[in-house]
Amino acid sequence: MLLSKVIFVIIFVLLYTVSCSNGAKWSELCKCEELSFCRRNRATDQAFVEASLFYPKMRIKEASVKAQKVTVEGVIGDMLNAQLEYSVGNISTVLVLQIFPLIGGSFRLTIAEEEAPLLRFDTRDALNEPFPLGHFDRSADCEDGATCLWNEGRKLILKYSPLELLLFSNNESLYPSVVVNHHQLTKLEVLQDYSSHLCASLQVTNLESRANSESLDDNIRSDNISLGKDMNTTVDSMLQTYCENAFEENVHGHVDQKKRGLEAVAMDITFPLGEHFYGLAERAADLSLSFTKESLYGSVYSEPYRFYNLDVFEYETQKPLGLYGSIPLLYALGEKSTSGCLWLNAAETFVDIFPSNWSQETSLSSHFISETGLLDVVLFPGGETPQEVFNQYLLVTGRPAMTQRFALGYHQSRWNYRDQMDTLTVNQRFDQFNIPCDVIWLDIEHTNGKRYFTWDMEKFPDPSSLLKQIGDNGRKLVTIVDPHIKVDNDYFVYREAKTNQFFIRKQDESEAEYSGWCWAGLSAYLDFVSDKVRNWWSKRFHPRYYPHFGDNLYTWIDMNEPTVFDGPENTIPKSVRHLDGWEHRQVHNMYGFYMHKATYYGLLQSRNFSDRPFVLSRSFFTGSHRYGAVWTGDNQANWEHLRYSIPMILSLQISGMILSGADVGGFFFDPDPELLIRWYETAAFQPFFRAHAHEDTRRREPWEFDERTTMLMRKAVLRRYEFMPYWYTLFAASSSSHCEADFENCGPPMRPLFWEFSSDRKTWKEQTEWMIGNALLVAPILEKDSSMRTVYLPPGNSSHLEQWFDLFATESKMAGIGQRGFTQVIAPLGRHIVFQRGGTIVPFRNRTRRSTICMDRDPVGLRIALDHNGQAKGIIYLDDGHSFLYESGHFRLAKYLWNATGTLQVMVHPLGNKSFVGSEVMIEKIVVYGMKQQPNRVYVSSYLNHTTVNFSFRDGVLFINKLKLKAAPMNGNDKWELHIY
């Protein structure tokens, strides 16, 4: 620890102890009960009078319902418009309800004041570009006091009084999939002018009796009169409750000034066919969501799930608190149906989960409460499987960005590689130990005093040469950039941003920038919510502004919740102002999203739209998957965090954040070799595979321990690269807008077991094993001193018995075939538990290379696992791995089909016909699992001739070696079929 840092640490500690008392640990984070908006709205047992006075039921004015054409962000489509009568206390107002049909059969519902003195923030930026607006198939009055709407065959019934929406996934279903406002918890606190605010008078009288202010007294009097004299005292106390902390709230020692007054929104959404909820990322909690009320059987939590992007210090597992990002997407899974909803709100939000009833059937309900924003929700009718909700969700929020292939390789990071020589040594060590690695990362210490976009020239005297040397070894470098900008007039970024007034401002009306403490010391925070600032930021990623911004340099954005060490709960105060007039509380959960977006476009522009950006962000919102990767933040080096990395990543996967992972080894503290090896073995089969560590930890690169540890860590890394063609195919599928047609299988690359086997209840709570695509089942060892575990291999049903093949079995013969159901598997260190599902074909490469780019031309292999009918199919996708040329035909997409007669055929996508490095790769090896008997002969028939090929047959597995077959034959001469007899 260097001295200046010691001083800084001391300051930091002082600051931290201040902020720790209201940030950081679970016990010190805000609970629903401590925040007035949540307290008010969560209470469901309010007296009738109170509820009706301040939270009236929503009713639609019958005559106001009208379908119309509308243009949203340049997209023309339909909308249904209706008015709601709504009176709160003595204030009578009109709310507007709008229903938009979205592409894919989903509906977006918004409710807000028709006219309000202040604006509510709309999160439409989170939705896809262009805006996914659709058209109603038709709309009609379908019953008394209700309108029916159809969107892509899905019916929505809008009941007027009380307001209720019923969404059916198809015309035949008796039960709706989604019901809005079944529990009458939909509320909207009407925005009012301060001068005539319901609570303003109360506030003043409460603060200080000001008898001389006659007008205020008059107000109170008139309120009371209008509410009826008999109820004066009751109403008074109700008003008191309603207005409690309306304008000011002391939260853990930080005073929150709320100029806008009351503005919360809430809604209940019921899923009559739902039995399990999933989603609501990000938190370190179980995959299957728990009830959130203490009184309920089966509740793990007494707190609702929270969405408030925070840098939670040393976060604990099994807590409903929200972490760095928010994706308020909810899946309701049933045996034969899955539906969902997306709560579009960037403000602090709490979600209760509780059992409900719908026509005597058990079902699930959710209750969303947000501090401000529109009442805005997308309803997904879903279908039989979770995949249908996922498809609808991605149609609304966009497909994940097409990944750089190197991003799927192994990443080596640490806070911090000390200097240029250190970094180059690490780079060189990978070659020395023959361990593949694609990316080396530099954390904050590489900058000149945490001035981002600069280099510490003493430690990194020649960044260009550093980049070149790393690039010469086929690798990339990632540097970090944070949103807090050091207050320093000699720092060009600060100076320029200040001149342009690009910083978030203080809460008062002055133009002064807000400043708070972060890594850089006193810092100002760029206002990424403004597109002016985003455009400016995007231009920073150019050698002109970012010295040494070379071709193989990519970006990591961190601390973008944003983190403020001396702020409430470690973040920026809610009352600070944004350039476009928003108060931070309105936009908080999207701050990181906007920064991610701006950075994505920065990289895109700086490389002339020819190179896919790679940007890792810690904070995110729904839609961030269009811009890149995220990770689960500052986890810990212990077994519990290793275990919880799985449900955390799975939740992100099903929420569209497919390029996601956890810090391998754990960020805080030192893992022992066993934990580290097991973590590598686990993460080798999770999408984003980056080892990272805190500054205080000991070095833990693969060569830092004994020879055996190095060997085992290397082995895990090699497994990742072995399956690289499969990973890349899965990522291409998820990003493809023609996924269903071209790839057939379009789920997230890493999937919960229930995704593939949603009718098998035993899979619903499974979070220690998972699927990669539809083909591989992975079940790592997650316990200390253990070399055995139970694996659940879904058995399928009588009409389709699943077959499972243990790819890395080491035990006896026939071990290759997995026992269906629960089975014990022995796995000492170094043995990966991976089963391939019958009916699938998985491409692989097993040549050791330095990095993905060095594998471009290497031949591939196919692992073919036959199902109970002796059939299998699979896909390989190939392109150059980094450019957008695939959009113009520079790709290969080959489908392999093994039919029951023992013929392997290949079909190639006709549009992918242009060449690129690696377009002509060969298949050198085919392994077939599940053959009933040894074949007599194997031959390849091509355009001109038949060639017999050698094979071997061991333990029921057929090996066909030394093949030279084009993986994706485009022209007639290359076409082939493989036959066995």
Binding site: L2, L3, E695, T697, N846, R847, R850, E924, K962
Partner: protein
């Protein structure tokens, strides 16, 4: 890369390979060709008993489970590719680096499919390396000479320390004996004083005279018998040894006749000169004999007699005490010094104890705003922060490991590893903190220069030279003379 071009190149290469002789296998060191011979149609995998058809060798498909059948392609994880590197040193690289689009061998032979153009840089590198080796050899040479000096210095210092240690051990031993004797002497005198005082008391009570000698003797005898017999024995021996001195002193006392000053002086002399505690017994006897010899004096002293003998005694005691204290503090000093020197010898000074002379040598450097002070084999400091105390060596005495420095905030105690590199002078080349509170120093010193290193460099140089495939003129023109090495 255009496939056609690749094809042409690979065919060409194949042709070349075939015409060059059937005995070469791509990626194999010619000296190890024996292992890759066709043995009845089979290739025997190198690290197992497996054998595969000979055609499997380098057929771009991995056949051996140990991965040894593809030295010339990247098909196996486990093969190594041999680059001849004419002009530089031959090298083995993992075969996984063959044809991966990155030039690894300086002769470019690893990229034989031509995915990238790898110009032959061996001669250039070889030449540069030879120049480097030349420099390094010079450094090692100087370093070795310096190391000899250092070694001599170390052995001189070691010898000096040994001598000093010996000397200290002897003087401590002597002083210990002296201290023991003086202590006894002192104890006796004090005892005598007490006896006299007790007698006085008795005399005061019973108006008695000096005839009660026996009672004093009794007390003394009691005291003696209470001591363990061993010390009695030693006393007897000392008595025997000290007899001439005693005689001399009693003579002096005799000579003094009756002047009290003289008596006092004698007493001091006695206490100084005589180290036997037994003298006291005699002194006491002498004292009374002395008194009894001079009846006149006895009479004369009748009144003041008691005052005088206690006074003298007291003087003797004080004197002895002072002497004892001096002895003890001297002893303490010597012991500390001895301990310090012994501690010096408890440290491992490496082969031939060459590092002894560097002990407590402190090197200083300012890096990235901090002042570092490294005291070899002792302590390391960053400004006033302790980065560790010397704890141990690595196994081959090239790294000093310092532990237990000032603890980090919320972290472990600071520690430092000092990497030693052969050089002429002791200099800190670089300081770094690879993990928080764990420091690394790179320091040059002649102490780690070795003949082995010299030999290694020379071997390398001759390897490069022997790997030059030039005409003699070129060789002499481009290459430094071997003699210079």
């Amino acid at each position: 890369m255009r496939p056609v071009l690749v094809f042409v190149i690979s065919t060409l290469l194949l042709v070349i390979q075939e015409t060059c002789g059937l005995n070469t296998v791509r990626g194999v060191n010619p000296k190890q060709m024996r292992l890759y011979e066709n043995k009845e149609g089979f290739f025997h995998c190198l690290n197992s008993s497996q054998k595969v058809p000979y055609s499997s060798l380098n057929d771009d498909f991995c056949d051996c489970d140990d991965g040894t059948d593809e030295p010339g392609t990247a098909a196996c994880d486990g093969s190594t590719f041999y680059c001849e590197n004419i002009g530089f040193v031959p090298m083995n690289i993992p075969s996984s680096q063959v044809n991966d689009g990155i030039c690894d061998c300086c002769d470019g032979s690893d990229e034989w499919l031509g995915y990238v153009e790898c110009p032959n840089r061996c001669v250039q590198i070889g030449k540069r390396r030879l120049e480097q080796i030349l420099d390094e050899v010079k450094t090692v040479k100087k370093g070795l000479n310096k190391r000899e000096e250092l070694k001599n210095l170390s052995s001189l210092r070691a010898a000096a320390l040994h001598n000093k240690m010996k000397f200290l051990q002897v003087s401590i031993q002597e002083a210990e004996v002296l201290e023991r004797k003086t202590k006894k002497e002192f104890d006796w005198l004090e005892h005598v004083l007490k006896v006299i005082q007790a007698r006085e008391l008795a005399m005061n009570v019973s108006t008695g005279n000096f005839s009660s000698n026996s009672s004093v003797a009794d007390i003394i005898t009691d005291r003696e018998s209470s001591n363990d017999t061993e010390s009695m024995n030693s006393l007897q021996i000392e008595e025997h040894e000290m007899t001439p001195n005693y005689e001399k002193n009693s003579d002096e006392i005799d000579r003094c006749s009756w002047q009290t000053d003289c008596i006092l002086e004698t007493c001091q002399n006695v206490s100084k000169a005589y180290t036997s505690s037994h003298i006291l017994l005699r002194l006491q006897k002498l004292f009374f004999d002395f008194l009894s010899k001079f009846p006149v004096l006895s009479k004369f002293l009748a009144g003041s007699q008691r005052e005088i003998d206690t006074e003298i005694l007291q003087l003797c005691i004080n004197n002895l005490q002072e002497q004892l204290e001096n002895l003890r503090s001297g002893l303490e000093r010597n012991r500390t010094e001895l301990e310090r020197i012994q501690q010096y010898f408890s440290v491992d000074y490496g082969p031939e104890s060459v590092f002894l002379a560097l002990r407590d040598t402190c090197l200083e450097v300012t890096s990235q705003g901090y002042h570092y002070k490294l005291c070899l084999l002792s302590q390391v400091f960053q400004d006033s922060i302790n980065l560790g105390k010397f704890s141990r060596w690595d196994s081959n005495h090239t790294k000093m490991i310092f532990m237990d420095g000032t603890p980090c905030w919320n972290g472990p105690a600071r520690s430092t590893i000092v990497n030693l590199i052969c050089g002429v002078n002791e200099t800190i080349l670089k300081v770094s903190e690879p993990a928080k509170c764990q420091y690394q120093f790179w320091v040059t010193t002649c102490a780690v220069c070795s003949v082995d290193e010299m030999k290694k460099l020379r071997d390398e140089a001759s390897l490069i030279l022997s790997n030059f495939n030039f005409t003699k003129e070129q060789k002499s023109a481009t290459v430094p003379k071997h003699d210079e090495l």
